[in-house]
């Protein structure tokens, strides 16, 4: 058997293996090991869904309100002139994506923003780029497109009114709004 055929078989095996793992309907399981972990729906083959005792439908307390949850982080910050998402936000985005995929009737708005420097209209586009990047990651992690609305305010809605780097840094952001 030639090397080439061997490699092709390996590749086919990989592809076959990959396609088995990426199915849009399956929710991504997020394991939160803290003791105050919010509910995580674990789909097992029976289709049953297990809930913990602090489920929102019984006590009125929602995952969204839990200050300990990764879902409580609703702002993602960015570097100057960039729409790349830092790896420190991975857990946050995973948590929101999981929540959305488990709650298909829930929708969010991703608001993109930029700091005041440079041209206003360019900053409008930069804010949108940032929101789009966050949406892309969420879609890969299980949310569906119809649940996510995008809007960019560019530099028009600063969180902080100052004219120095510490203010600018807080204005380069995407806000997740439920």
């Amino acid at each position: 058997m030639s090397i080439r055929l061997f490699l092709i078989l390996c590749l086919a095996g990989l592809l076959f293996g990959c396609s088995k793992e990426v199915k849009e309907e399956e929710p991504v399981v997020v394991e939160d090991l803290s003791s105050n972990a919010p509910n995580v729906n674990v789909n097992d083959d029976s289709g049953a869904q297990a809930y913990g005792t602090d489920d929102s439908s019984t006590s009125g307390f929602s995952q969204l309100d839990d200050p300990q949850s990764a879902l409580s982080i609703r702002i993602i910050y960015f570097e100057y002139n960039s729409s790349e998402i830092s790896s420190e936000y991975r857990t946050t985005i995973e948590a929101h994506s999981a929540y959305l995929s488990q709650n298909p009737t829930t929708s969010i708005t991703l608001e993109g923003h930029a700091d005041e420097r440079g041209s206003r209209e360019y900053n409008l586009a930069l804010g949108e780029n940032r929101a789009q990047k966050v949406k892309q990651q969420m879609l890969l992690l299980g949310a569906s497109s119809s649940q996510i609305r995008l809007v960019s305010y560019g530099e028009e809605r600063p969180a902080i009114d100052g004219h120095d780097e510490s203010s600018w840094q807080q204005n380069r952001r995407v806000e997740i709004l439920y």
Partner: protein, 431 residues
């Protein structure tokens, strides 16, 4: 509800009738060889009553503010003639004053006015310009600016831009709410009128070529959308509210089309909309940011900002279609292009060592001349005579407007009494 409506309209009228300038304009740097000129207080045909307007002060302020004139103080005037025959040439020669303006405001039998004036060259001993301009009462201020335009052109060779208007956005942050407003005012800061007030952001005012309409971006629908509003009637139409960004409107020179930035097809691209049927023509196809289109004065090209090469730079594309061509090559950040009305240059925002300044790109040789030296300058717009650029700057007092001559020698500051002002757009010559 009716009473509130009445109060709102009344307050709008109050704003436009205020006797003082809403925008306060100061010259901060003038040319070294300013031209001397004496402006004699105009005569008034109805002795015993007060003239309806002080034309002299408006003209003197215009010329002083231009940075090119040294206007003689009124107290130093050796005489105050209103007629040519009353001029004592030797009085003026003794003071070394070369240029003298005299004039008269007449109330005519019909209740309208006419203004006659003469610009006299003292050394040559003769009149070098003289006109009589009829005027209805509400146009007297414009007549003063028209006189300034005539003087300016006669003495500097450059057409004046005093009889023009500017549009701008103001933002007032109250305790629990913010008010954004789109306003237009005379180029000297007087006669400010509110065109629109909104709790949501307003951006990018753009004048139609005939000066009768303004296109702008409003977030009142919770997303960016483009509106076109008639200045006189206040009537407006929402022309673009697609999903995503709708922004950066810019009128074609014939007023029939609007270039704009839309992201409805995935990311920001440049489009041209025919205002008659709202049909769209897409001009760019690139995954990066493409925004801020500016129509060339001959109607054939658009300049725009694109980051397709890594950071924002200026590109040109034929409106008929084709490949964009990069035209800015100095520095890492060039954005927000605006063609000069004479088509020879493009003003832009140019970053230098972390500071954002106003530059002017010479379209013949490709060089960028940096005109300002603050840290956060943006939104440049040419005066219709291509001689001055108005722009927005941020200082310790918040957002203000400023202006600089295209050769960089003259600087002006334009401040609002309260609130931030931003996004200026200099209107066309008025007809």
């Amino acid at each position: 509800m009716k009473i509130l409506f009445k109060i709102f309209i009344a307050s709008m009228l109050l704003v436009s009738l205020q006797a003082h300038a809403v925008l306060d304009i100061k010259i901060t740097q003038g040319v070294e060889q300013a031209l001397p000129i004496a402006i004699v207080p105009f005569g008034w045909s109805q002795a015993g009553s007060v003239a309806p307007i002080d034309l002299t002060t408006i003209i003197a302020d215009d010329l002083r503010r231009s940075g090119r004139f040294d206007v003689m103080d009124e107290q130093d005037l050796p005489q105050r003639p209103s007629d040519y025959d009353a001029i004592n040439f030797s009085d003026w020669r003794k003071l070394g004053m070369e240029n003298v303006l005299i004039g008269k405001l007449n109330l005519t039998d019909s209740g309208d006015y006419d203004v006659s004036f003469r610009l006299v060259d003292i050394y040559r001993g003769k009149q070098i310009a003289g006109f009589r301009i009829p005027a209805k009462p509400d146009l007297l201020r414009r007549v003063a600016h028209q006189i300034s335009d005539i003087l300016f052109e006669k003495l500097t060779g450059i057409p004046g831009a005093f009889d023009t208007r500017v549009a701008y956005i103001t933002v007032k942050k109250n305790k629990d709410h913010t008010v954004h407003s789109l306003q237009v005012a005379d180029a000297d800061g007087y006669n400010a009128q509110i065109l629109l007030e909104s709790p949501e952001p307003l951006l990018s005012p753009s004048w139609s070529p005939d000066g009768k309409k303004i296109a702008y971006v409003s977030f009142e629908g919770k997303n960016s959308a483009i509106y076109v509003q008639e200045i006189l009637s206040g009537q407006r139409q929402r022309v673009s509210a697609f999903e995503g960004i709708n922004s950066s409107p810019d009128w074609s020179p014939d007023g029939s089309r609007l270039a704009m930035t839309l992201s409805k097809d995935g990311n920001t691209e440049i489009y041209v909309m025919n205002l008659n049927d709202k049909s769209l023509q897409r001009l760019t196809r690139h995954g990066g940011i493409d925004t801020e289109p500016s129509w060339s004065p001959n109607g054939q090209k658009l300049a725009f900002t694109s980051d397709r090469s890594g950071g924002p730079q200026i590109y040109e594309i034929n409106v008929a279609g084709g490949k964009p061509k990069r035209i800015s090559f100095e520095g890492k950040y060039n954005a927000r292009p605006e063609y000069s009305p004479d088509g020879k240059s493009i003003t832009l925002v140019h970053a230098v060592a972390g500071s954002y300044r106003i530059g002017i790109l010479n379209l013949t040789n490709g060089f960028i001349n940096v005109l300002t030296d603050a840290r956060l300058d943006e939104s440049p717009s040419f005066a219709p005579n291509s001689g001055m650029i108005i722009y927005a700057t941020t200082g310790v007092r918040g957002g203000q407007l400023a202006a600089v001559s295209t050769d960089g020698r003259i600087h002006q500051r334009l401040g609002l009494q309260q609130g931030d002002v931003r996004e200026p757009a200099w209107g066309p010559f008025l007809k």
